[in-house]
Amino acid sequence: MNTLRHLARYALAAAAIGAPLAWALPAHAANGPVYQTSRHNAGTPNSDVVTKKNGQITSYGDSAITYNVPSPALAALGQALYLQNCASCHGTEANGVPAAGTTGAFPNLVGLGPATIDFWIESGRMPAADPRAVQAPRRLPRLTHDQALAIAAWINSLSPSYPAIPTVNVKSANVAQGAALFALNCAACHTIEGDGDALARSTFAPSLRNIPATQVAEAIRTGPGNMPRFTGNLSDYQVADIVKYVTTEIQHPRNPGGLGLGGLGPVAEGFVALLVGVAVLALVGFWVGERQ
């Protein structure tokens, strides 16, 4: 027991020293690409051809995804919207420190790419219905697409960073590759049929049945919440393949065998087998037989 307590103390101390260091890292990385948090290898593209603009990566080197930075002209509007909708938690400086709050209570938004900001607003998760919820659920978005872009533009103007907002060219993507990559990278949480499922302690992998292509790509590239961020290990071609598989086969399954039963697998099938199959046949037996 004591050993455990010691270990926990060391871990806490290490975290206390490490965390400020980690937050300080992006500051000296101004020359290279800056990504949303401090994890060193995060966002390192494995592609050889990287397009840079003003010293920052705008593309992972192919034409499958175009990353667009929202127009800086929207920043003033964005700030006004931000103050109305976001500042009560994330603070007027977008640094995660509300007026009378303590540091670290809410996420620091400075240095997150526009894709992150756009994803959280356009999926309706932000502004949060319940800021203390373990995981913000997907809702009808409260802000429009243009308003989300404006807020992303303003936050980006504080410290320009990547990834920018992706536009996926799904036409040239390969759905079979996408299926294989989906099974390898996504199915472990979102399930092979894309229905999502509960994870530990009230967290969950959301259903992918109605997610627009842009948000699928944003989620893969930025890793919202518990989701890992796929940057270095997936090229833009591969992300586009996954996006195509999700927006076609996952969202519009062909179900040649009849009713899809919600994609819930043997749970739903068992209910149908017992409550439709066995029950109907037992009723037929009841009808055929004597009831005294």
Binding site: V175, A176, G178, A179, A180, A183, L184, A187, A188, C189, H190, T191, I192, E193, D195, G196, D197, A198, L199, A200, R201, S202, F204, A205, Y245, E249, P253, N255, P256, G257, G258, L259, G260, L261, G263, L264, G265, P266, V267, E269, G270, V272, A273, L274, V276, G277, V278, V280, L281, A282, V284, G285, F286, W287, V288, G289, E290, R291, Q292
Partner: protein, 514 residues
Amino acid sequence: MSDTITKRQRQRAGGRYGAVGRALGELDDRLGVARGGRTFLDKIFPDHWSFMLGEIALYSFVILLATGVFLSLYYVPSSTIVTYHGSYLPLDGMPMTQAYQSSVNLSFAVRAGLLMRQMHHWAADIFIGSMVVHMARVFFTGAFRKPRELNWTIGVTLLTLAIVNGFLGYSLPDDLVSGTGIRIAYSIILSVPLVGTYLAFWVFGGNYPGTVILQRFFILHVLVVPGIMLALVTFHLILLVRQKHTQFPGEGRTEDNVVGSPMFPVFMAKTTGFLFIVAGVTAAMGAFFQINPIWQFGPYDAARISYAVQPDWYMGFLDGALRIFPAWQFHGFGHTIPLEVTIPAVIFPGLVFGLAYAWPALERRVTGDHAMHNLLDRPSDRPKRTAAGVAVLALISMLFIASSTDVIANYFKVSLNTVLWTMRILVLISPFVAYPIAYKIAKELHETKGGGRRKVTNVVTRTESGEYVAVPAPAYVDDVREELEPTPVPVFIEETEPTGEDDASGGVRVVERD
């Protein structure tokens, strides 16, 4: 008269029962089928509806055999890796085993293949479901008592074999979900104390996954297990004819008779119709409800896993037990025993099925009742037995529900950990809650006059003088049965009484021909 044979002459020459009768006569001359056939055709089946439950199982077994033969014409039990270039584009160019490729092709490229696959799968689910319901009927009415203990044992064996064969069949397509199931099965075998490693290597021909498991599962699934099952089903039915049916107590029903419809013509018509209805329901389900869409799962690959994977419903209680059992392990004497797998997946099912096998003997010992029983109990007649059965069913049902902890948590938006602990508690307390409730209900029903029995309808009439008279009505309106004359036994199966004389000269015995 000319040589022309008239129709009437031909009929007369055919005998009293026509061409069929003559053909049967020819058969009887050679094989002596008449007497056995007569016994069979005169076999009396009680009309109570609950006796049809076992027939659902019998007929879904027939459908399983028929559709299974179709599937085996196209399935390739091989782990050889091939590249798919078929009609389902999302799998195009993907490496996969030949087993998975043939299952996908069977679904998309073979005419009626998908329908047959889905019918086979639905029939398997219905087969085991109706077996469980049938078993419950037999248990709660005490039909397993002397002299039918052997048939109960056969039934429990059939249920075990059906579950095993269901799992084997589920594993054959080698898709992502069933591959995960085989992985779990391997771990369960590994967890058997002391011999687990040897056992697992013996079954899989080496380490997991190996290259032989699919062909081993295939031959077990299509030949060995169904062969044993077919023999046991036959024996089950032979015993049923030999020992005659049980029946519920009622007017004119005693321990020494059976009241019901004869096999021919009443029951034969009924049961043939029922076969077609079972086949029709299964075909309709195969046509309209998609089951196990293996093309969506993709081929199995040990590096890939899908969340929300459950086994088919009949394995649910095992999966649930595995899910909720705490992570206990035993290390010592140079061995590790993973109790978190051994207890829920090896010891627990052993206990459940052991209890099922032992129940008739246990009940005989507890009640001291060694008499022959041909009349059934109503469940309320034996509150303790009923309550015990309900308690076990409650436990199994809770474990069954526990196999979908993740789906419950996701669907009702509760924490997975909360669901897990809820299920742990529910599993532990459910039998102890179910027993007294079931016991109390059964006891009260039993002690209430006319409790648990259908109320008799009265027909109230008013006489001319204004007096009201209540007369018990027949069970069904217009259902007034007339006594039928017994069918005369046809002459061609006239019984010859054995002479009983024994010529025992020199150890040689003379047996009269029939």
